[in-house]
Symmetry: C2
Subunit: 168 residues, 2 copies
């Protein structure tokens, strides 16, 4: 691990994300909000959660371990009418560094377990980091939808918002 080239970096799993999504199947049926989504942090990091419960939202950062990489730079999301978009203009999991980011609500934190709102990550996804989502820093009222605006995106965004893993 110390013999990696300069521009390679090693990260390690600091916990596991648990969700109702067990399979790789795309576009799974929507589940209701009562499903349990939680992050089990490795116990050695428990102290690092101190005061995290004072935040409404957090960033969950994870390793997209289910992705089969294809190195495509331009993709065409199945829901987007053949629109071709660059991988960096999409949230597709199939990207050079398969890092996933989701904004979720904290429901409660008990010891090393963070109970959260829906997340579009499969059960067992390795956790890389948790950060507080801070109002002025991260909430941009003038954000837009970019190229997605032109597409029939309602169903697609609903998948993200309800935390349902799906193909892009």
């Amino acid at each position: 691990m110390n013999n990696l080239p300069d521009n390679y970096f090693v990260f390690n799993s600091i916990g596991i994300i648990h969700s109702p999504y067990k399979n790789k199947a795309p576009n799974q049926p929507l589940v209701n909000d009562q499903s349990e989504f939680k992050i089990i942090l490795n116990k050695k990091y428990s102290e690092g959660l101190k005061l995290l419960n004072t935040f409404t939202y957090i960033y969950v950062i994870y390793y997209l371990d289910k992705v089969i990489r294809n190195n495509k730079m331009v993709i065409s999301p199945p829901w987007a009418n053949q629109q071709k978009v660059g991988i960096f203009a999409s949230r597709s999991p199939n990207r050079p560094n398969p890092i996933g980011i989701s904004v979720v609500k904290i429901k409660k934190i008990i010891d090393n377990i963070i109970y959260i709102s829906g997340i579009d990550a499969f059960d067992g996804t390795p956790l890389l980091d948790v950060k507080p989502y801070i109002d002025k820093l991260d909430a941009k009222p003038d954000a837009n939808y970019g190229w997605v605006e032109k597409e029939d995106n309602e169903n697609h965004l609903a998948l993200h918002l309800q935390g349902v893993p799906h193909k892009h």
Copy 2:
């Protein structure tokens, strides 16, 4: 690189972030917005930027290569009146996986270069990923400041918002 344990993952730099911040010094003087901040993506990924320019904001995800790790789980930001907070309740760069995330505005994209608004990353920071910041998905109007609300946080948030690297 293929002999890593199961819970370790290798990422590689896909570009470099350029900013006016050359040193490790904390709380550098604020610079005006005219300073140049840009991301130079490795040319082999240029095609992946297709239609990224249709978004107002992007997430920039990077490797915090200047951090000297100390493995502390509870920290006390110098600006926060001795308040002790968990590392995951802070945006401190000194965390188990030193991944930085900033929300920035796109100014323009020319070939493999993304010109952006201020970012609190040092010049030469290795880039891991760029993702579109999507309105309903990422902009949370009911986000809060958590424990930061109780502190004199105005100057500190200003550093983030103007993109000035500093200690937490």
